[in-house]
């Protein structure tokens, strides 16, 4: 635990289409099993002067024999691009969004409810809103 952790980044690239910076991270951690993603995220955010809340770490694999791990890192420019482009499971792991209800029963109930409405139900919703406004 007292051993220093060395972080090296490779293949750094700025991806303006997805408004982020992406890179491969090599971590050398002798004596430790591995380094947690949150800790690594803080360290890298400091290195690249980004926001720790906007850094995403994933795909970390420890090499055979221990002491060395490799993974990927993305640093987004702003919150909305992160919400737009990042896959949902990673957002859930980070804690930004919560997982949608996907139990089989709930999905079937939602589907059956949707069967009663023809189309998207936008015009019905508009009609209901107008009615509510009239009644007030």
């Amino acid at each position: 635990m007292s051993d220093a952790v060395i972080i090296k980044t490779r293949k750094f690239k700025r991806n303006p289409l997805l408004a982020r910076k992406q890179m491969i991270v090599d971590v050398i951690h002798p004596g430790r099993a591995n380094v947690s993603k949150s800790e690594l995220g803080d360290l890298i955010a400091n290195m690249y002067k980004g926001d720790a809340k906007l850094t995403v770490m994933f795909g970390f694999r420890t090499k055979f024999g221990g002491g060395k791990s490799t993974g990927f890192c993305l640093i987004y420019d702003n919150e909305e691009s992160m919400i737009k482009f990042e896959p949902k499971h990673r957002m859930v792991k980070k804690g930004v969004s919560t997982k949608k209800e996907t139990s089989r029963k709930a999905m079937k109930e939602a589907k059956n409810k949707g069967k009663k409405v023809r189309g998207t139900g936008a015009s019905i919703a508009k009609h209901k809103a107008k009615r509510a406004a009239l009644n007030e």
Binding site: R10, K11, Q22, I24, G59, R61, F72
Partner: protein, 392 residues
């Protein structure tokens, strides 16, 4: 206007003269030279050709009437009837095409082989020869399917018959397909739009089950011979000179090569992962393979000796060339010289009879009851046989 008319008429007359010059003599030639009998001809083709001819005649009549302004009902009706009939025949023609081609090929081959006098038909050794026409580019039109049948084809299909038509048929084919140029170059197309692989040459049938089993056996024998135990024994106790391959070590390098190949594949995979910023999944098969090679690398016991088949190793010991000895028991021990027949005043049985005799007195069976025993007793060089030879 009149000059135009005169030029057109002049050109028309010119073309007419050319056609007369080229076509008439050839027609007269064929009609006079070949004798057609009604049985030899295909009815369908006969009808088609005569229908075409009468259609042409009526068409010229129609054009003449049009020019002079007359309207002939019967002419028009005849024309429409014939047109409908020709359209119907087109479909039939498509279906019959294969049969007709077969007949033509049979006719041509019959003529050529009758002259050659050799074996023909299924025994012909040349029937699977390479067909370079099929192998060339499809720019000339594919072999069978280039004529999606149109009316143009019927001219060459209809009129002539018999073996001498073959060259004409081929030439006509080429010109028709070049003129059409419907297909994209280099693509085979079938009639229902599915891809058909090009058939270039005939290949012999090799789906022999027995052969495959023999192959498996041979492979396993080869693998056994290559185990390190067998090799070291052979090197120590055999008198053949040592062999070394180009890598310096014998077959030990095989597993190293496997590990090297695996490392290459792994490197390729990591390169792909890093390029795409994704993690790829190793399938169960790949995991097993990796584990196996890792085991081979770390501890070499499996390569040292194939313990599952100790018997066969013992038996194959000394046989470097890979002969398997027909799988029966090994050769019996050599006949000893008769001078040793007496010992201690008693007649001594010969060594092999002694070992073969089941001796219940000794409590150990002398006769081999399974292959392991046979291998152990009969080789003898390992010193496990209880023979009296040692006592002498």
């Amino acid at each position: 206007m009149t000059s135009d008319k005169s030029t057109t008429t002049a050109s028309l007359e010119e073309t007419l003269r050319k056609v007369d010059a080229s076509l008439l003599p050839s027609i007269e030639n064929t009609v006079s030279s070949t004798t057609f009998s009604k049985e030899d001809m295909l009815d369908f083709l006969d009808v088609k050709s005569s229908l075409m001819a009468s259609y042409m005649i009526d068409l010229t009549l129609y054009i003449r009437n049009k020019n002079s302004g007359k309207v002939d009902e019967k002419n028009i009706r005849r024309l429409t009837e014939m047109k409908v009939a020709l359209d119907k025949m087109r479909g039939l023609d498509k279906k019959l095409r294969y049969q007709i081609e077969k007949l033509l090929n049979a006719a041509t081959s019959a003529s050529t082989f009758a002259s050659a006098g050799d074996n023909f038909g299924p025994e012909d050794p040349l029937q699977f020869r390479a067909n370079p026409e099929l192998m060339e580019e499809k720019a000339d039109g594919s072999s069978d399917d280039s004529f999606a049948s149109d009316g143009d084809d019927m001219e060459e299909m209809g009129g002539k018959n018999g073996a001498d038509e073959d060259d004409d048929l081929q030439a006509a084919r080429k010109t028709v397909s070049l003129a059409k140029d419907k297909k994209k170059r280099g693509e085979a197309e079938s009639e229902n739009g599915l891809y058909q692989a090009p058939r270039l040459t005939a290949v012999p049938y090799t789906h022999d089950v027995e052969g495959r089993q023999k192959e498996k056996e041979k492979r396993s024998k080869r693998r056994l011979r290559a185990t390190e135990l067998a090799q070291t024994l052979r090197a120590e106790y055999g008198d053949t000179p040592e062999q070394e391959d180009m890598h310096g070590g014998s077959d030990y390098g095989k597993q190293r090569a496997a590990a090297r190949r695996l490392a290459e594949r792994e490197a390729e995979k990591t390169r792909a992962e890093e390029a795409g910023m994704v993690r790829l999944i190793t399938s169960k098969k790949d995991k097993k393979e990796k584990k196996r090679i890792l085991r081979m690398e770390s501890s070499n016991l499996g390569a040292i000796s194939d313990l599952s088949n100790l018997v066969r190793e013992a038996r194959d010991f000394g046989r470097e060339d890979g002969s398997d000895g027909d799988g029966d028991f090994p050769d019996s021990a050599p006949v000893e010289d008769p001078g040793d027949r007496h010992h201690n005043g008693k007649r001594v049985r010969s060594r092999d009879t002694y070992s073969e005799r089941s001796t219940k007195k000794r409590g150990k069976p002398g006769k081999a009851k399974n292959s392991l025993q046979a291998a152990l007793y009969a080789t003898g060089s390992e010193g496990k046989t209880k023979s009296k030879k040692s006592k002498r």
